[in-house]
């Protein structure tokens, strides 16, 4: 039997880095093949070559045993290769239907919307991908957007489907759904390439696993022959031990206090409906909840990007509701935002400039009217080493960084500012195991130094591992707060779907 995909001797160089260094990579039809590696190992690059986004400097690609000339995404689609990118590429103002049939020619010059709609519905039913063809993309959660991307590929009848960190943005339930879809697809003979940093998922869904290390193939193994620890060791090249011990909080005074907060979302519908919460000095308060229940609006209100309709927020005793971002930042707010490419970084600017995005208004970076770029360079270089950020140079635009390295830029900037209150939304999303461990350690340190941290995440393991208390948000309200040691999955899931668990939960009001 021929391999569905054979990539042989692939080399891709970028200025300053060899992203892929003579990589051989083979995927069989009907198999789920996981691609593992640290941040910047070259996973996305390799797959983007297969999907026609980049041309390799050397090497060749065979599809079903025949040499393939893939120069553009269109070529790739024609050859039956589709990719769902780490950062989606949907037209946000258009409907699902329009997005899906964009670029498809078989619905005729005058698009046959009805037929296309039916086909979308049939496909999404068959593969368990619930979507509403009439919805507008910007109203969808990231999980739904991803389903749209997958359906888009299904309608193009791809034989090879590449998913670049698809689960990073999904809730546990959505992840389960995705895995079911993946298995159905593989069962019908499609080849699936699955990129993830979550080893548990890799073990759960894949048949074989290929590990990249600094742009080289460090081996392909069958799932049965390995385990999570083994994978981690192969990836990093040494033993990795997760040693996070939660320290009991020093239970200090309130730093952040939210009273009866109300706010509307972009569609002018209520998103926060009387939210109450406080975060104390020296504690990490985790916030669990299915995305779309007000987390995004809470982030925006807390950072001054959205005007609250009612309610009060005090930070260190000072009212910040409705204040400008600069005033809130001056009051001690740090934020790792959910949207790292738009809100978190200026993608076209260099690494150094992104590091000083906020500190540029204070000494030592600012000296009167002048900016001390030398001091900025020194700071950027120090953080680069500290957080092990892989950047080709201090001035190369950060949009060229790998997903994980971009996240590290934001983390380095926000954590090093020693905020009094840190809002961290999915802080370890997209980070490899080593980096995620490091960031958790730094969060613990920050907490020990007396910061108050609000950690918003959909990853219940991470929440349970880091937080001192866990609050659950549902439909814009906190439905319960429990000490982390009492927070089991069952209870949290109940609260997250709006059902009250019977006992042991402190109601907030």
């Amino acid at each position: 039997m021929h391999c569905a995909v054979e990539m042989l001797g692939i080399v891709k160089r970028f200025p300053g880095v060899v992203a892929n260094d003579h990589i051989d990579f083979r995927v069989l039809p009907g198999e789920v093949h996981a691609l593992l590696g640290e941040n910047g190992a070259g996973k996305s690059t390799l797959m983007q070559i297969l999907a026609g986004l980049y041309r390799p400097d050397a090497g060749k690609i065979l599809l079903s045993g025949r040499p393939a000339q893939i120069h553009t995404p269109r070529d790739a689609i024609q050859a039956g290769v589709g990719m769902v990118y780490q950062h989606f590429m949907l037209v946000r103002r258009h409907t699902v239907l329009e997005n899906v049939i964009l670029g498809l020619r078989r619905y005729g010059l005058f698009l046959d919307y009805r037929r296309a709609g039916r086909e979308i519905e049939r496909n999404s039913r068959e593969y368990g991908l619930e979507i509403d063809p009439a919805a507008t993309v910007w109203d969808l959660s990231v999980g739904e957007q991803q389903r749209v991307e997958i359906v888009k590929m299904l309608l193009r009848q791809v034989k090879v489907l590449i998913l670049d960190e698809p689960t990073a943005v999904l809730t546990p339930r959505e992840t389960e759904g995705l895995f079911a879809t993946i298995r159905t697809l593989a069962g019908r003979g499609a080849a699936i390439v699955f990129i993830s940093h979550k080893l548990r998922e890799v073990m759960a869904v894949s048949d074989r696993i290929t590990i990249l290390r600094r742009g080289e193939n460090a081996g392909t193994i069958r799932r049965e022959e390995t385990g999570e620890r083994d994978l981690a060791r192969r990836m990093v090249g040494r033993e990795v031990i997760e040693e996070i011990e939660r320290e009991e909080p020093a239970a200090g005074e309130e730093v952040l206090s939210i009273r009866d907060l109300r706010a509307f979302d972009n569609r002018r519908l209520p998103a926060l409906r009387g939210l109450n919460l406080e975060v104390r000095r020296g504690e990490i308060l985790g916030m669990a909840g299915i995305s779309g229940n007000g987390q995004k609006e809470l982030e925006e209100v807390l950072t001054g990007l959205r005007e609250p309709a009612r309610g009060s927020i005090t930070l260190g005793g000072r009212e910040i509701a409705g204040r400008r971002p600069d005033e809130i930042i001056a009051g001690g707010l740090g934020c790792v935002p959910e949207d790292r490419q738009g809100t978190g970084t200026a993608p076209g600017l260099g690494y150094r400039d992104n590091i000083i995005l906020k500190s540029c208004r204070r000494p030592p970076i600012r000296r009167g009217l002048r900016l001390d770029y030398r001091a900025a360079d020194r700071q950027a270089d120090r953080l680069r080493r500290e957080y092990d950020i892989k950047v080709p140079s201090l001035s190369a635009p950060v949009r060229l960084l790998s997903g994980g390295n971009l996240q590290k830029v934001i983390l380095a900037r926000e954590l090093s500012a020693r905020p009094r209150f840190l809002l961290a939304v999915h802080p370890t999303r997209g980070l490899d195991i080593g980096a995620a461990t490091y960031v958790r350690k730094r969060l613990g340190e920050l907490k020990r130094q007396g910061a108050a941290i609000l950690l918003i995440s959909e990853d219940l393991d991470e929440l349970a591992g880091l937080s001192d208390r866990i609050a659950v948000i549902y439909e814009g309200k906190i439905t319960g707060i429990l000490p982390a040691r009492d927070a089991d999955r069952e209870r949290l899931s109940l609260l997250m779907t709006g059902q009250k668990a019977e006992n042991g939960i402190m109601e907030t009001s």
Binding site: R105, Q157, L305, P325, A330, G348, K358, L369, R370, Y373
Partner: protein
């Protein structure tokens, strides 16, 4: 199904290195070829015309001095567009801001006749700066407060500015002889010549403005914020930068620079008001800023080349009977090819390839 198009464009992720320079040079070349055809059509050998143009602009001391005379206001209007481009604002209104600066200088000069230069020149410059600044600042305010596109407002305000200055020329400031020219300035209101043709101290003002703007953008917090906002307004806002304020300030400063352009032109060259103050320096400025990739120091260089184009164009019109409109065509062609080139740099073109028809 038959393909509808035989050319397809595909987004390219990595524009080749050095591609920018190559594209710029190629578009200049193509523009020269295209305008050459027009020159050929009026019965002149294009190679001779271009040679004459070049030597007329740069080949003689006199030509060079005239080129510098044109370069002076072009630097200032070019900066006015370039500064805005840094923040992804399109200032199409340098022409009008130039005219307002011109007019403001005239009003001061005529209101205070016979005063010494150390009083008049600073006052005129300040009036031009403030006038142009308010003119463009108004567009900035509309953009910041109401989200009105600055492209539209700055463009439309050009006509208002031009008609406004013509009103003065035909009306209150009309000469005693009834012609639409104001009385000439007293010596104190004229920028001193440097003793080489009509080149005057305004050139140094323009050069200084470019250098200062460069330093401000490169080394100050203000300039850093301009860059961040230009790249990503969302990230800038989240980082605590005040975008609205910056939009107004940047447009106002740009208007002030273009206004200064009007000042150096009237005080250094024209020395009175006429109905023909708007001669396209503000539109050429868009081209200059784009070609200079909005870098202030490059603006100097590009403005010099375009100054030469103006001068050389006049020379071949007089000497060879090539209509000066050819220069306009050349400018337009450069812009056209440049924009096309930028597009092609980001997209890959494929000719004659059948558009994918799904199986």
């Amino acid at each position: 199904m038959r393909p509808l198009t035989f050319i397809t464009f595909e987004k390219r992720l990595e524009p080749g290195r050095g591609a920018r320079l190559a594209v710029t040079l190629a578009s200049l070349f193509l523009a020269l070829v295209l305008s050459g055809l027009v020159i050929l059509a009026v019965g002149v050998n294009p190679v001779e015309a271009y040679t004459a143009l070049f030597s007329g602009a740069f080949g003689t001391l006199y030509g060079l001095s005239e080129t510098l005379v044109k370069t002076t206001p072009l630097i200032l209007t070019g900066l006015a567009v370039a500064l805005c481009l840094k923040m992804r604002l399109w200032n199409i209104g340098a022409e009008g801001q130039f005219v307002i600066g011109f007019l403001a200088s005239v009003l001061i000069a005529l209101a205070l006749p016979g005063r010494p230069w150390y009083l008049l020149l600073p006052l005129m410059a300040a009036a031009a700066l403030v006038g142009g600044g308010l003119w463009a600042g108004a567009a900035g305010l509309l953009k910041a407060r109401l989200g009105v596109s600055e492209i539209i407002t700055t463009l439309l305000m050009n006509w208002v500015a031009i008609l406004f200055s013509q009103y003065f020329a035909y009306g209150p400031l009309k000469g005693l002889d009834g012609f639409p020219y104001s009385p000439a300035f007293c010596p104190g209101a004229c920028l001193p010549s440097i003793g080489w043709g009509r080149v005057n101290a305004g050139l140094f003002l323009a050069l200084a403005a470019a250098v200062v703007l460069h330093l401000v953008l490169k080394h100050t917090l203000w300039g850093f914020e301009v860059r961040v906002i230009g790249d990503s307004p969302k990230a800038a806002r989240a980082a605590g930068m005040k975008i609205e304020k910056k939009i107004v300030l940047v447009l106002a400063l740009a208007g002030g620079l273009a206004g200064l352009g009007g000042f150096v032109e009237v005080s250094g060259i024209e020395q009175r008001l006429s109905p023909h103050t708007a001669i396209g320096y503000g539109y050429t400025a868009i081209l200059i800023a784009w070609l200079a990739r909005s870098h202030p120091l490059l603006v100097i260089l590009v403005a010099f080349l375009f100054g030469g184009l103006y001068t050389g164009g006049e020379m071949i019109q007089v000497g060879m009977g090539v209509p000066v409109a050819v220069i306009r065509i050349l400018q337009g062609a450069i812009l056209f090819f440049l924009l096309a080139g930028d597009f092609l740099m980001n997209f890959r073109v494929r000719f004659g390839k059948k558009v994918s028809s799904e199986r």
